[in-house]
């Protein structure tokens, strides 16, 4: 793709740091993604099952989560290492089990809503020239369960991450929260 596209600086760009919430699903539940000419996702085809294959909402402590996409150039190739990190305050049975379930998935798709209300679809690579996509086998990475030490300064918490390697930055999801199939 030998095209250079101009970038104009917005007068007041939406650039608030952090992420608000994410939704995750096993790759096998997603049959097809449809992309438009702007390389954003306009439709998702799910494999229906009982219980329903849907995305699961994952909430976390406010202003503790981020979605980082670190790009490296390796000779003629580009790689983007995607990392989602979030903190779950308190150590509880419910959260512990939910994290164990998340860790049991070796291929995850994640829709991430950032604090500027952009939706990023992580865990896939999209080749716009071929109009083809594939899963990146995003899965959980480093994490911890920590009581911490000082009740006057710390809290007990879980830290969890999702990691994967992609062809480029995550495509945008155009359907908003209403279009995310959650049960």
């Amino acid at each position: 793709m030998s095209v250079v596209t101009p970038i104009s600086l917005a007068a007041c760009p939406r650039a608030r740091a952090g992420i608000k919430v994410l939704w995750a699903a096993n790759c096998a539940t997603v049959a097809t993604l449809t992309f438009d000419e702007d390389r954003q996702i306009t439709a998702i085809t799910m494999v229906v099952a009982t219980p329903a294959n849907t995305f699961k909402r994952i909430e976390f402590e406010e202003n503790t989560a981020f979605f980082n996409q670190a790009k490296t150039r390796n000779k003629s190739a580009v790689n983007v290492a995607q990392t989602v990190s979030f903190i779950e305050p308190g150590l509880s049975l419910l959260v512990r089990n939910a994290l164990e379930d998340l860790n049991g998935n070796c291929c995850v798709h994640a829709i991430i809503k950032d604090n500027s209300n952009n939706y990023h679809y992580a865990g896939i690579s999209y080749d716009a020239e071929a109009d083809e996509w594939f899963s990146d086998n995003m899965k959980t990475g480093e994490g911890s369960s920590n009581t911490n030490t000082d009740p006057t300064a710390d809290q007990a918490e879980y830290i969890e991450t999702l990691t994967g390697n992609s062809l480029f930055y995550a495509p945008f999801w155009s359907l908003g929260e209403a279009g995310i199939p959650v049960a």
């Binding site: 049959a31 992309f35 438009d36 306009t42 998702i44 229906v48 099952a49 849907t54 279009g179 049960a183």
Partner: protein, 91 residues
């Protein structure tokens, strides 16, 4: 997904001949129909999705046309009858 709605088709009958390109039973697509979010059942049997409260019926010609008209990218999902011109085709 509280505000997901299935949009009703336009009043006038759609021309016949809209075809789903993927007819796999047990698959549902979430997409936009006009300005709303809706569902497209790829099979011939009603399916509950994303939960038991929402039964997605097999697609009608009117629904296929409404989806097709919404966005050019949906031509990857639906084939229009020969000579049909979607609103987005003139943009």
């Amino acid at each position: 997904m509280a505000d997901l709605q299935t949009t009703t088709a336009r009043e006038e009958p759609a021309p016949k001949g809209f075809k789903l390109l993927n007819t796999t039973e047990g698959q549902v697509t979430v997409l936009r129909i006009g300005k709303k979010t809706g569902f497209l059942n790829h099979g011939q049997k009603p399916v509950a999705f994303p939960d038991e409260k929402n039964i997605v019926q097999p697609a009608t010609q009117e629904l296929l046309r409404a989806i097709y008209d919404t966005d050019a990218s949906y031509a990857q999902l639906i084939e229009a009858p020969a000579g049909y011109k979607a609103p987005w085709a003139s943009k």
